[in-house]
Amino acid sequence: MSQTCEINVKVNGEARKATVEPRLLLADFLRQTLGLTGTHVGCEHGVCGACTVLVDGDSVRSCLMFAVQADGRNVETVESLGRIGRMNALQKSFHEHHALQCGFCTPGMLIAATDLIKKYPLATDDDIREGLSGNLCRCTGYEHIVKAIRAVVDSEAGTAR
């Protein structure tokens, strides 16, 4: 039997306690231990971006981090953004701009965009495309995703000024 560790992680505002093997990926902890299946697992080696979550407010690949490393940290998944009927502005914009088709990449896109909007001015659509270059979508061709993010950036800029 391999080593196990007790961890205390705040997930979407809720304190969660678990005993985990060190090799358990954060993505699998979220999906399988906690049942938060909004976070998707695509490539499992940090290429597709589907498993992106926020740890202490920064976007990270949850397939490249171990659950044990999240001990004492604050993790936010796509479930934290909103719910059906109470979607946040970014989710509404994805809805309005048809920024998803199969939906597999969407949780990663939403979390990646959340961090991008927070950290970069995203003045041009090229900036948004560069920012999304680590998130793969095989349905939409990205056009609608860029438009959805553009709309949020523009509306927030409008509010701020």
């Binding site: 560790c5 490249l64 044990v68 991008l116 680590g134």
Partner: protein, 291 residues
């Protein structure tokens, strides 16, 4: 696609990290950002018996200005380097280079010490270390030592680190006055590893180049300096025939590989084109008086 079992040690200090490494023996690994290590664990290309996690060592993430250099702690994340006002003021070439490193979610997590230790042949940070004649600080159970960047990168994914060694910081000398810089990279997609990248600094006095540094990445087993080309430039103004000779010298000095992404010939051609652009940008900035 799940890692094999390992034991996990949280190091709370550098002393504890090197002691844990020494105790664990040859197949222990340090985990910092994990952005290169964890994919290899997930693929089971690596099956270390012990992972020593250094993420909780206090005081190992810092960017600090000294009289002549900028000290960067090993646990500093790429995004911190990318957005640091101190780096932007004294080493703008580094700020620019960091924007080419992977994607935000990778830059949020990946560390300076990790990138230097991993030494991917197409990564930007080893190239910056070489360009700026940086010094890399290393600790082990036996003590500490300092290695010049030019002696640190030995081969692809191979550096001057022994079992039990850990990089603790890098000291990046500030650019001299009257120094301009250029950075040029081509990758298949933004954030991918470079097919070729070139960085240059030119220091100018009285209309002539007094110091020239040209570093490349993606075109060999390690990042490298184009010393022959650098020497050609000393004592002259940058003009087209001279730039052309420097470009030829860079192309002659490299032996890039052919792979899935680009042929050796294409990479050699590209390295020349990017050298020209980087030198011209550095010359322009040096003569504007802007660092």
């Amino acid at each position: 696609m799940k890692p094999a079992s390992f034991d996990y040690v949280v190091a709370e200090s550098i002393d504890m990290a090197v002691a844990s490494l020494a105790a664990a023996g040859a197949d222990a690994k340090i985990i910092a950002g994990g952005q290169s290590l964890v994919p290899m664990l997930n693929f089971r290309l690596l099956r270390p018996s012990v992972l020593v996690d250094i993420n909780r060592i206090a005081g190992l993430a810092f960017i600090e200005e000294t009289a002549n250099s900028i000290r960067v702690g090993a646990l500093t994340r790429h995004h911190q380097l990318e957005t640091s006002p101190v780096i932007a003021r004294h080493l703008p070439v580094v700020s620019r280079a960091m924007t080419h490193v992977a994607h935000l979610a990778i830059r949020n997590r990946g560390t300076i010490g990790g990138s230097l230790s991993h030494a991917d042949p197409a990564a930007e940070l080893p190239m910056m270390a070489l360009l700026l004649d940086a010094e890399i600080h290393v600790a082990s159970a036996a003590g500490t030592r300092t290695v010049a960047a030019r002696d640190f990168f030995l081969d692809a994914l191979t550096v001057d680190l022994a079992t039990g060694d850990i990089v603790t910081e890098i000291a990046l000398p500030k650019l001299p006055p009257q120094t301009g810089w250029g950075f040029e990279e081509v990758a298949r997609r933004h954030g991918d590893f470079a097919l070729a990248a070139v960085a240059a600094t030119l220091t100018v006095s009285g209309g002539a180049i007094t110091q020239a540094r040209i570093a490349l990445t993606g075109v060999g087993s390690t990042a490298l300096r184009a010393t022959t080309a650098e020497e050609l430039l000393i004592g002259h103004a940058l003009q087209p025939p001279l730039t052309g000779r420097a470009v030829d010298a860079v192309r002659a000095a490299i032996a890039p590989d052919t792979d899935l992404h680009a042929s050796a010939d294409y990479r050699r051609h590209l390295a020349g084109v990017l050298t020209r652009r980087a030198l011209e940008a550095a010359w322009r900035r040096a003569n504007e008086g802007a660092a």
